[in-house]
Assembly symmetry: C2
Homo-oligomer: 331 residues x 2
């Protein structure tokens, strides 16, 4: 008779193999972590002490500004410096996830044959427990597996993209001339999280105007008057030709050096740990409460009562919460 | 000595005044509900039985496609039919929230002198407990105050915008020629929630191509093969001139009639109530657990332990959850 490995033994050996450099094991572990929130606590318990070594870069911006071409250039620069690089594309339009035109995709896939590069795309929908929690743990697996640079690419201006960028040490926000309307939207959300601003396609008409607009926004930002604040530099890039990529690498290094001074990095990590802990407690508690209410046969009834307006949502939530006991959620 | 009203008495009289047609009271009540999650349970307990009467329309799409101009036209059409209309703009670029060019803003503000119209913009950042929960309760206040049509306008392609649209009965997704790159992004998220597709600026070059693209996407969507599914119609509009607005009103009415048949509306409301209940339980439980852990002096320490990698986030979350007891969260 063959011995069927127990699930936790299986996960344990997968973690060991992934951290020892087995790329197939790494792929399978990432899929597990991405798709099954139940497996994350056991995986994290193993890998968490091995994390915190990678430098985490976020690259974000609206569709069509050339983020993936830029990421491809950054990968090349880090590889030229001998560093191992992982890329996580949380972007349905990214060539890394097969969403874009063929030329781009081919260019990206050349990277895939380099053993010092690991590329992974994440589905943007249907994540139990939230996309940002899934992305965070996938990045941790890559970190534990020894990648020195991890680049996370997201698209758009929504709250979930902003949440994902929360994990990065340095956030690069990309814009390009001709996508002018998007600047208005960025103003509200994305600019707040930028550590470095890239104007890509800087050889096109409108690039000077875009740089001026961004400068003005930075001048108006309330944070620019603070004493210990970082003013995001604006870097002009033509990613398709590689122009400006060295300047961008230098700007990123400047930000890393700034972060490393005093308590800045510790404060940033502390703030982020607090936000993550809250988010995690929320999801775990709600799952436990729903399961307990379902076991008692009440969840469906409460939902129906809310839908039919016999009970308001807050009153129903209090009832669900009453199913929580220390014993039920502590596991 | 003057008598200072107790907070709950104050809220109670505000609710009564808002529901009796006092617009200043309504404004103040909305601000309360938007900014103070603690006040929501008491307000909802009062107003929830009065809700469920309004027809809720969502209008979403990327910046620059003319959503606000379109919303303004829809408001005009509903007003011509004698209905009271409220608009909630969850969009930093909306003229309703003062984010756009002056011409637009003036046009929108003409609506503000019509007593049958109520316009409100919500901040998109910094909502304790989440933007979608805040928006949902603001819409309920408007519903209880007697508005027959409530239009919620959001921008973008992110998860939080998709979450907000979850409250609408009919979701109108707007695109326009020239914003071609955005179609790729919409494909992944926004198209899934569309009940009606609008191609605005339909007099411009590229409109036919955009309609064809959308048709193709609908043909490829897995849901289009199901028996009891609604295929979103594509409506060409030139909102700036009012062209196509009647056809859009008709498409919206068709969708409402489709929804009203059989159990469709009940199923939709049930699914949404389940999602809202889960989200609400998550936020309430996490708040209660954090407060309990803080009272015990352990929250900051746990956050520091996670940040310093002495403890993994899941282990820390389990400890925080152990502070939850039925008594602590049931209030």
């Amino acid at each position: 008779m063959s011995v069927v490995p127990l699930p936790d033994l299986h996960t344990e050996s997968l973690v060991a193999a992934a951290c020892a450099g087995d790329r197939r094991a790494l792929s399978r572990l990432i899929s597990l972590v991405e798709n099954d929130p139940a497996v994350r606590p056991a995986v994290l318990a193993k890998i968490y002490p091995l994390t915190g070594r990678a430098r985490l870069l976020g690259v974000t911006g609206p569709p069509g500004v050339g983020k993936s071409t830029l990421v491809n250039r950054l990968v090349g620069s880090f590889r030229a410096g001998g560093q191992q690089v992982a890329v996580v594309a949380v972007d349905p339009t990214s060539p890394f996830s097969g969403g874009a035109i063929l030329g781009d995709r081919v260019r990206m896939q050349e990277r895939a044959v380099d053993p010092g590069v690991f590329i992974r795309s994440l589905a943007t929908r249907g994540h139990l427990g939230g996309l940002s929690l899934a992305t965070r743990d996938v990045v941790r697996v890559m970190d534990a597996a020894g990648f020195e640079i991890i680049i996370v690419e997201t698209v758009g201006t929504g709250q979930s993209e902003v949440d994902i960028m929360d994990l990065a040490h340095t956030v690069i926000v990309v814009s390009a001339p001709g996508a002018g309307d998007d600047i208005q939207a960025q103003k509200a959300g994305i600019l707040e999280i930028a550590d470095v601003l890239v104007v890509n396609k800087a050889d096109r008409d409108g690039a000077d105007q875009l740089v001026a607009q961004l400068q003005m926004m930075l001048d108006l930002a309330p944070s620019s008057s603070g004493a210990d604040t970082w003013r995001p530099p604006i870097v002009r890039v033509v990613a398709s030709e590689g122009t400006g990529v060295d300047a961008l690498m230098a700007a990123g290094a400047d930000h890393a050096a700034w972060l490393a001074k005093g308590d800045r990095m510790a404060e940033r990590l502390n703030r982020r740990a607090g936000r993550e802990l809250f988010e995690l407690v929320a999801h775990m508690a709600a799952n436990a409460a729903r399961i307990a209410a379902e076991a008692d046969g009440q969840w469906m009834q409460l939902v129906a009562d809310v839908a039919a307006r016999r009970l308001d949502p807050y009153a129903a939530a209090r009832t669900v919460l009453s199913f929580l006991s220390a014993g039920a959620v502590g596991r």
